[in-house]
């Protein structure tokens, strides 16, 4: 079914149209979320939240931007919210561990293995994801969208509502930071 027609039907609350939209876009949403969150369970939760929001706010979607751009924006926004919430919880738990009676240490998350990475690249990809997790938010988003979703700088600039030159700059800084972080990781190992 034509995408615009699907969206019109979804605006009327058509369940079949909604199902088709979910099935068409769920992998894109999930893959983007897992790239940012580096956790399968969290990515599933975020994917669910994204489509719930799509259903609830599709009436406000004007066809000025592509549907995929709108969907990516919601996904990135939800994933970042989730990430910030987790960081706050971690910080609070750490402070509690200092002052609490048990003095439990905060458990570090295990290394992330992306299911789509080829076998011969698994170890290197794990190290790369560890470094990506330490990038500033905007660099992380740009790098993830480019590498995991194969988006062009133009598409990324539409999603991030910024200029192509800003995306180029973000990617350049991201790569430099990743080189620095990975060099440090390899030297330590």
């Amino acid at each position: 079914m034509d995408e615009l027609l699907l969206i019109e039907k979804l605006k009327q609350g058509d369940e079949a149209a909604f199902r088709q939209i979910v099935e068409s876009w769920q992998n894109m949403v999930y893959n983007t979320a897992i790239g940012i969150l580096q956790n399968a369970e969290d990515a599933e939760d975020v994917a669910q939240e994204v489509f719930v929001q799509v259903f609830e706010s599709v009436r406000s979607f004007k066809a000025e931007a592509k549907f995929s751009t709108w969907l990516y924006r919601i996904t990135v926004s939800k994933a970042l919210d989730h990430l910030r919430k987790k960081k706050r919880k971690k910080r609070f738990a750490y402070i509690q561990s200092i002052f609490g009676p048990n003095n439990e240490t905060v458990i570090d998350k295990p290394d992330f293995n992306h299911p789509g990475v080829t076998l011969d690249n698994k170890e290197r990809a794990t190290m790369l994801f560890s470094a990506i997790a330490r990038l500033p938010e905007n660099q992380k988003i740009a790098f993830t969208l480019h590498k995991l979703e194969g988006l062009s700088y133009q598409e990324i600039s539409d999603i991030m509502k910024t200029s192509v030159s800003s995306v180029e700059s973000l990617m350049h800084r991201a790569k430099n930071n990743l080189k620095r972080l990975l060099t440090g990781d390899y030297e330590r190992n």
């Binding site: 979910v22 719930v52 992306h114 290197r124 990809a125 995991l148 060099t183």
Partner: protein, 108 residues
Amino acid sequence: MKNKQQIQQEVEKTLNSLDNIQRAEANPYLFTRIKAALQKEEKSVWALAIGFMGRPVVALATIFLILMINMAVFFTVKSQPADEDQQLYANEYFSNTTVSDYENATNE
């Protein structure tokens, strides 16, 4: 111990390790989960109430109503003459006779 050149080569390979990556696939039951979440939201009375009260028009109207009630009560009370109890209270604590009696009272 790896030398710098070896490390740089490893770094470059690592940066390229996501080339040809396949998309991760979502849970095939995701749509079922989404439907359940939407139905849960529909049933939640609190969510409905909060959603209704959260609308700016409703919130502003409620605040306006409360203010109007407060003002009505204020002006109504102000316009009423003091009743007997209030008069006694005023006499007991604010009349000159009471103050001078205290001043002239002797210890018994």
